[in-house]
């Protein structure tokens, strides 16, 4: 499974109710497409969000969001980057 990152931008600050509503709509589709939600980050001003998923490809996440009618900015496949020992002191 690949790590998939999804970015969202909202014109107006998004409320927790709206986020929960998105989650409810998207979850059924994610399940159907075999994708799993891992975690989300919401900016303090509530105008940006980043969500992390595990899925076979980025398209599974895109299709889930499209199918549920939830907008996003972009979706990309990511690798987990760990700093090695030599750079750890920076």
């Amino acid at each position: 499974m690949a790590h998939i990152v999804l970015e969202q931008i909202f014109e107006d600050p998004i409320t927790s109710e709206q986020l929960n509503d998105f989650a409810r709509r998207v979850d059924k589709c994610l399940e159907a497409y075999g994708a799993t939600w891992v975690r989300s980050y919401i900016a303090s001003d509530r105008k940006r969000a980043i969500c992390e998923f595990e899925a076979a490809d980025a398209e599974k996440v895109r299709a889930s969001y499209r199918s549920a009618g939830v907008n996003f900015e972009r979706v990309w496949t990511a690798e987990v980057f760990s700093r090695d020992e030599s750079t750890a002191s920076y």
Binding site: A32, A56, D57, A58, E59, R62, V75
Partner: protein
Amino acid sequence: MIEIRLLGELEVQRDGKTVPLPPSKKTRALLAYLVGSGRPQLRDRLCELLWDGPDDPRAELRWSLTKLRPLMDGCLVADRERVEFRGGSVDVVEFRRLINGNQLLAAAEIVRGEFLEGLDLPGCYRFQQWLIAERESLRQTQVKVLAQLIDQLGAGDAALAHARKRAMLDPFSEDAHIALIRILTTLDRNQEALRQYDHCRMLFEQELGRRPSEAVEDARRAVGGSAGRPTPSKAEAYSDEPLIGRRDELDQALAAGDKIVFLTGDPGIGKSRLLTELCRDNGIYGRAFAAEMIRPYGIWIDALAELGGFPTDTTDRARLFDRVVELLKSSGRKRIVLDDLQWLDEASAALLHYVSRALRGTPMQMACAAREGELDANGCASRVISELTREHRVLQIHLEPLTPAETRKLAQHVGASDEADRVVAESAGNPFFAIELARASDTSSTSLDQLLSDRLSQLDPRARELVSWAAAIGRRFDVETLGRATGMAAGEMAAALETLERTAILKASAASSYDFRHDLMRRAAYQKLSGPRKWLVHRQIAQALQAAHDPEGSLAGDIVHHASLGGDPHLAATSAIAAGNRCLRLFAYSEGIAVARQGLQIAETLPDDVRIAIQIELLQIIVLTRTSIKERLLWKPRIEALLEQARTRNMMHESSQGAYLLASLDAEAENFNSAADRVLQSAELIPKRDPVMAIGQIANTGRCLVFIQRDVPRGRLLLEEAEALAAKSGVEHFEIPLGLGYFYAHIGDDAHAIPRLEQAYAMAVRAQDHWREWIATSRLAVMALERGDAAEALRLCQRLAPAAAKMTGGSEGPVTDMLTALAHLISGETADVDRCLQSLRDIDNKGELAYALVFLAERDLRRGDIESARQRAEEALRAAEAVDRRSEAAIARTLLTQITGDRSFLDPAIGARQWDDLTKRAQDKLTEAKHGAHRPRTDLRRPDHVRTAQ
């Protein structure tokens, strides 16, 4: 004080005032039976009588009782076991009491008409049998009473009405005709006496095959010699009815714009007349009929007859509706006019809803009419009207009575200036009544029914005979059928039709077909038929229709109706099979179930072997309707019982048919249940609150399964379930055509896929759902590419680009670019496919990448570029397997087998379920690669006629 009248139409009076009865015919039949049988009835017996089916009969009974109780002032007594009508006054009881007391005149006057007139329920054979037996016994009693009364009264004026009634009730009794001829002769009404003789002779010759006896001839010879040609009555001085008054209403209707004109008002108030006026200006006209015959789309079939006929060769309901719309739009007509919507069938109502939306914004206008109050009793028609009203699409015009001045003008126009005051006073502004009053030669009649009945009595024998047959047909009829049913010679029939047209009873409606000028006239003519004659007439009509050339089975519903009323259960039940199959072909599923249920009831009276065979066929119709699987599962016990009976009798064909039906139901139920996972369980909680949302969720789940190519047959079932629910609730959801379009594309059935996907595209555009707009079009583009139709693929790619541009951050842009590049390639142009492939890799859309690579690898192979083909097929296989795109993986494997000669690529076993998840293209490639080894599809198998209908 409650007073119940059964002799005539069922009527309930409370303290002398008529109480409105529930519109449900079965509820009224229940009341009539409880009152008429005169004793407590077991609830189970009542259920068997009226609700013999898989639904919950006891709940239906309870529902009906709750409707009746408030009307009965405590006369309806019910406990857990029994129901009884107790107390109140009943006319049948009073009738018998008067006869026992030898008060014959009073007894004769109490009878208003046939026992429970119009309450026939041919589909409920137990009730119908009781009704017919009671009717016959009361008719015989009434005939005896009338005969004695005529003897008592002598040959004077007072006896005349009774003698007429007796001859009508007992049409094959010579004594009845002789008595009437003698009385008329005594009263010096020689013309009428001779007409009565003619009528008697014709009846005997046609229906008994012999002439009346010498006794009747003697009565004729006794008629005075002054009989010459009859003078024409006022009725015969008919000319076209003028439109008097209604100017405001007409102006309003003409200025309705794109609103649908909807005329309401009492019977005879002038709705049809105003519609005729609207139709005069380049319109087409259709009318619904009251007779309970299963005729899906009846009103539309009649209306579209003059536009070349109703389309019947379509593949699904959506397509059928579209064809009707195309036909209307291209007709160049200005207006479509539909009358008597209170009798609209469910399929016609759905089409009306569709057409009314599709014609919005076009120059074609719509105008309809329905009887006040009666529309509510027709659930599907009233639902369509209220939905259109909610959408502000309806301009309702309620027709009020004419003013006295207008009524007077109408009377004058019909040539009754001398009687204008009487017409104004008695008609209460009802124009139909006013015209009949003005035309009447006998001014003593005060009710409309009486007027119409008198007018029919004055016709010459042939016209009187013909009009009864025409009324029994129940709707517009063609001369050929009428001729075949009556056996009347062409010349005689032409003369009779001419009389009926001249006297404004019938009107020519289309090429060699006729209709009654008004439905009230049809009803009056039908009421003049006595019980035994009705039976004969319906039976002969059924036989005439059966003999007609009818390859499409369009008359089968009519045959069921006439054969059941004519006491021919075998013909009725076998015709129900033909009618049900026609409903399946026309996607009129509710009607299909209704006619099958009717047939099941009728077949109960047949000998076991015949009954079982017919009932299994009828149950097959129910199983094959694309209605909710849950509703169809309710029929399982019935099928199981029949299967058992068929097995005990060694009926091999019927046994295997029954077993097949059970297996089909089980397979559908299993697939439905396992697909209906948590998503559906939550959706199931919704229907009561919001059916649209429930339909959306079921369709979405189905579409999703087809889309991701997992459990495709289940996805299809869910989509069909959603489609059935949607049709029932009159809603639309774009997931349904989208999902079914994908399904048909999946099984390689482009002919069915394209219209669905185009429909989904159009709906998505309306809803501004760009993604669905895009995926519908992209599937169409892929299909065009696979057909090698580069021009069509490029045209569709041009449609994809703007939709893709409206969505940020997705893969729609790169996929559009790739499809465009592939289209260019197959049209022989160059394209930078490598750049497109890299874009798909960059955005990590492995599924589409695999598709494109497979497409290109196949092309490489055809061009002999083996190395490129191998590389692309390998990458395609990796990408497809990573995202479990089995179809692309399968094709990639066949390519690698071809390229490398290594057959181990074909090793992975594919189970039956996985096989169905492969696209038709992938299945074909695999089959071909395995040397043509045929692998059958395991999707729902249906008989061929149904599969082609989908």
